[in-house]
Subunit: 170 residues, 2 copies
């Protein structure tokens, strides 16, 4: 057995996913843990519910005639929502198929469509955007949680994200 710990920054468990417990949830609902299983099949189910709930917090703005602006608004709200709920990162490793997610994705594709995207290009840019937000929110909130605050350069997460969007949207 040869395990070597290379690095050990002080870490706070990211958000509350690890702390989300059937028993704890039951207690908050003033109910017995076993009672939850009448409403839900498994803990996975409540996690899925939590995921879609987060995306309900992402504002879907009215569509304007500036499609780029619309994309930025939605995607910015997406990232913000994920950062607001520190437990999101631990949750995003699961299917995002709820109605709230679907609605946001539809808005995104519609805006890109107004920008002249269709076919593969539409699929490519949609994925690029979505995966960029997800990756960003994940790493940012991870670093935020470790509180190492390395500040690798003089640029904020917000600025780097924004300019990343510039690079994608042209």
């Amino acid at each position: 057995m040869d395990l070597h710990v290379v690095h050990k920054p002080h870490r706070v468990p990211v958000g509350n996913v690890e702390g989300l417990t059937m028993r704890r949830l039951a207690e908050r609902l003033a109910v017995t843990p076993t009672a939850l299983y009448w409403h839900v099949d498994t803990k996975e189910d409540v996690l899925d519910l939590a995921v879609d709930h987060i995306f309900g917090d992402v504002p879907v703005p009215p569509a304007t005639d500036d499609w780029r602006h619309d994309v930025r608004t939605l995607v910015g709200g997406w990232r913000a929502a994920m950062l607001r709920h520190t437990w999101a990162p631990g949750l995003i490793g699961r299917p995002m198929l709820g109605p709230n997610v679907v609605a946001r994705t539809a808005f995104l594709e519609a805006a890109l469509g107004r920008g002249g995207h269709d076919g593969v290009r539409l699929a490519v840019v949609t994925r690029l955007l979505a995966n960029f937000v997800i990756g960003s929110a994940l790493t940012e909130s991870t670093w935020r949680a470790t509180a190492t605050s390395a500040t690798h350069g003089g640029w904020s997460d917000d600025e780097l994200f924004d300019r990343g969007l510039d690079a994608i949207l042209g």
Copy 2:
């Protein structure tokens, strides 16, 4: 009428984070669970070790005179490594600070530097790339795991990822 008469043992998906247990790890190492705690402070530590171990699988190619090619090779290998280890997605929500990660990031920045990037632009593109891979690997392996196989269009994950890279690298 209930078919699940027998006590259902814990579902243990091999090869994913949720299945990684101190006790299970100890067993594989032919050792007592408590023995692990001489080598390691906490389970978090072994998770961190696992993370960096994954990135050790990402090949660092020799630098060529085609910086774009170098970037694609590294980033493609990065995604592949993450997809190879199905448990990676659950792990990436934690600091990637090990030596293997640092080496890969350095290579990436060097290649981008050869492409004329510096200052903010270097930081922006590095982040964009890294967060895109992370997000991609995460969502792809999630969908793969749920096996919904929706095939939203006629395009493969590989193709969409590749063309996403096109969009980023110009």
